[in-house]
């Protein structure tokens, strides 16, 4: 599904990813862990095509296609979507308007009414209060509400590769379990997931197939979910 080779990325002249190799298969849940500043979120932003992150060298292949030069909307259309760590508020734009534009942009015929129903159903499933769904996106939302709204969008847009960037920050344990359950369901239908986190908590609910650990812009460890337990006991000190 996704294959990253020798990826080097800089932001404002400073190199932050120093040769990353990473692969994710179809339907696979890959956990990307590492301490703050290790480059996890930078990798996520590079994958969605955030123009602040400049690819110096290396290759990003997605479903057999090189996507290095594609814009964020083009990547989204191919099926790469991210749940943001800090989703922004957009005044006067509702989640329905945005999703309608997204789906129609892909050439799908969607009725506004049908979408409204779908949003209401997903909202209920994720325990999002109804009145939030008709408000401007993320405006006046709590941290947890924002994260749930991100997952709601993902459930409707149905990515091939879902990137969860620190989805666990600012969530209570019930919300965390709920989000994990909803993502897990989607993964079972063949969606690949890149879970970025520096805590272990989330991974108890969303069990990864493989774990990759990053530090200072390079991969320092790869393996199975036993790495999560190791990190829980020893922290990131073992990679010093």
């Amino acid at each position: 599904m996704l294959k990253i080779q020798k990826l080097r990325v800089k932001i404002e002249g400073k190199e932050i990813l120093k040769g990353i190799d990473l692969e994710i298969d179809e339907g696979e849940v890959l956990a990307l862990m590492g301490p703050n500043g290790s480059g996890k979120s930078s990798l996520a932003n590079t994958l969605i095509g955030n123009s602040k992150f400049e690819v110096e060298s290396g290759e990003i292949m997605f479903v057999g296609k090189k996507i290095n030069g594609l814009k964020p909307d083009e990547r989204a259309k191919l099926g790469i979507l991210m749940s943001f760590q800090y989703p922004v508020a957009i005044s006067g734009v509702t989640v329905r308007e945005m999703l309608l534009a997204s789906l129609r942009g892909r050439g799908l015929t969607v009725s506004a009414l049908e979408l409204k129903k779908q949003i209401a159903e997903e909202g209920e499933r994720l325990h999002i209060e109804g009145h939030l769904l008709t408000r401007s996106i993320n405006e006046g939302f709590s941290g947890g509400e924002k994260k749930k709204l991100e997952i709601l969008q993902m459930r409707i847009l149905k990515p091939k590769l879902l990137i969860l960037d620190e989805v666990d920050s600012g969530l209570d344990i019930d919300a965390l379990a709920l989000i994990a359950k909803n993502v897990d369901e989607m993964a079972k239908t063949g969606m690949s997931v890149l879970v970025i986190t520096h805590y272990q908590r989330l991974l108890r609910y969303l069990v990864p197939d493989r774990v990759v650990v990053m530090k200072n812009g390079v991969v320092v460890d790869r393996g199975g979910k036993e790495i999560v337990d190791k990190l829980e006991k020893q922290g990131y000190k073992s990679y010093e």
């Binding site: 989204a76 005044s91 969008q153």
Partner: protein, 470 residues
């Protein structure tokens, strides 16, 4: 430079579908420039009562004495001697659609008058240059005693009402353009809503400037008697002419005890028009006045709808949007004059500037001594879309009473990279994403105007945004 050319082509081809000129026969076209003789001629052609001629002549003197404002926009390139102050189309006002001359009908069809009328409107008045040539009012409204006429007809048929109210909310000496309007006014609407009558559907007027260098000086007087309710919509468009046109209107509104009036404007004058308009309402006890004002077109607009809150618990509101594109300056705002206790007001002003456009908010809240218990809230938000464009805010608060509350919020923002990335990461193209952000910004005001205008406004913004993201 090539960008300039593209932009003007966009205007000609797409953005300004109403940019056309129709051949209309005129029965009287004044020489260019203004003289006392012309003021007399206008009054005599209209067969006005003597008192109106006297008002016109007095106003003409005021006009000569007064200075052009030195604040606001640049007015130096208006050549007042190069303007025709009065043009009378040959066709007199027609009452039914069938009587409307073909050329004028075509114009109306282009701007969608009959459709609008069929669908939602209670009555249509359209000003074609200086005279109203087509007007109608649903029968049920005239049975309730609602009067909706051109100002000229209003003066002919209800001289006493006009005499009692004309020039009282906006005196001729208020500003130079108000003096000019008072001297040469022609057309505009006269609306009278009797006590306890709710007009229901909005009354609507279309104004057009159709003759090159035609100044348009329409005069509107609205009187809402006690416990009445009405909504008036003014839509403006002008064809594309190369030399500058002047539009200097005066709108006076009386909102009597417990009455409610909304006056909505969507103006899209062509980008060479000077739009210098004075609008003011006098709001009595427990009455409500709301101005909703969308300014998209013109070269320069100077317009500050005002409310004089003269009775206890009177409420005034101004909701406005200004769009300043290339070569445009929108100098707009609002004035709230609190004269009585427990009066409340709210100003929400949103502006967008792009391609070197300039948007200025200029507003005033004045609370005189004895206005205890009054509140006012002012919110000015500016969105600047590129480095070349500009936005300024000049709020003035004059508070002479202690027991009052005044809130003021102002924000200036650019389209955030983060917002753009967020929408694009959902699969939305950059251009569409920017348009969504701009429309979202305008939404609090746009939702207050009738749907057909809101749709038009969003469409125009979409066209303005085209090609804006590289």
């Amino acid at each position: 430079m090539s960008k300039q050319t593209d932009n003007s082509k966009l205007l000609e081809d797409k953005l300004y579908p109403l940019g056309h000129t129709d051949d209309v026969e005129y029965s009287f076209t004044a020489e260019k420039g203004l003289t006392e003789g012309l003021v007399r001629k206008i009054s005599s052609l209209k067969e006005e009562p003597k008192w109106m001629l006297e008002i016109r002549l007095k106003a003409y003197k005021k006009y000569l004495e007064m200075k052009m404002p030195t604040w606001g926009g640049d007015l130096s390139s208006i050549d007042f001697d190069d303007i025709r102050y009065y043009i009378k189309p040959k066709n007199q006002e027609a009452k039914t659609w069938a009587d409307v001359p073909e050329a004028i009908k075509n114009t109306f069809e282009k701007i969608g008058v009959p459709e609008a009328e069929r669908e939602t409107l209670a009555g249509v008045k359209s000003q074609y240059d200086s005279e109203v040539v087509y007007g109608s009012l649903k029968k049920s409204l005239s049975e309730k005693g609602v009067i909706f006429l051109s100002m000229d007809e209003g003066l002919r048929e209800y001289p006493e009402i006009v005499k009692e109210h004309f020039g009282k909310v906006i005196p001729m000496g208020d500003n130079k353009m108000a003096a000019l309007n008072t001297a040469v006014w022609s057309g505009g609407s006269f609306v009278y809503v009797p006590k306890n009558v709710d007009v229901g559907l909005p009354l609507q007027a279309y104004f057009r400037i159709n003759t090159e260098r035609a100044g348009q000086f329409e005069r509107t007087l609205i009187i809402a008697e006690e416990d009445s309710k009405m909504h008036y919509i003014e839509g403006c468009s002008a064809p594309s002419f190369s030399s500058a046109s002047l539009h200097a209107a005066v709108v006076e509104i009386y909102v009597k005890k417990n009455a409610k009036v909304q006056y909505s404007t969507v103006q899209n004058w062509f980008k060479n028009v000077y739009n210098l308009v004075t609008k003011r309402a006098k709001v009595m006890e427990n009455a409500e006045m709301r101005w909703v004002d969308g300014n998209l077109g013109s070269h320069l607009t100077m317009k500050y709808p005002s409310c004089i809150l003269a009775g206890r618990k009177a409420h005034g509101e101004v909701l406005s949007i200004a769009w300043a594109g290339a070569g445009q300056h929108q100098d707009t705002g609002a004035k709230m004059i609190h004269l009585a206790p427990e009066t409340t007001s709210q100003i929400i002003s949103k502006s967008i500037s792009k391609n070197g456009g300039r948007a200025t908010y200029r507003g005033m809240v004045h609370m005189v001594p004895g206005t205890w218990g009054s509140r006012s809230k002012v919110v000015c938000d500016a969105l600047i879309l590129d480095e070349k464009s500009r936005s300024d805010t000049y709020p003035v608060n004059k508070i002479q009473e202690n027991e009052v509350v005044l809130e003021h919020e102002a924000t200036v923002s650019r389209i955030g990279e983060e917002q753009l990335l967020y929408l694009m990461s959902r699969g939305i193209k950059a251009e569409e994403a920017s348009t969504m952000i701009v429309n979202g910004f305008m939404e609090p005001v746009v939702k207050e105007i009738p749907l057909e205008y809101a749709v038009e406004m969003n469409r125009l913004v979409g066209l303005e945004m085209e090609g804006s993201v590289g």
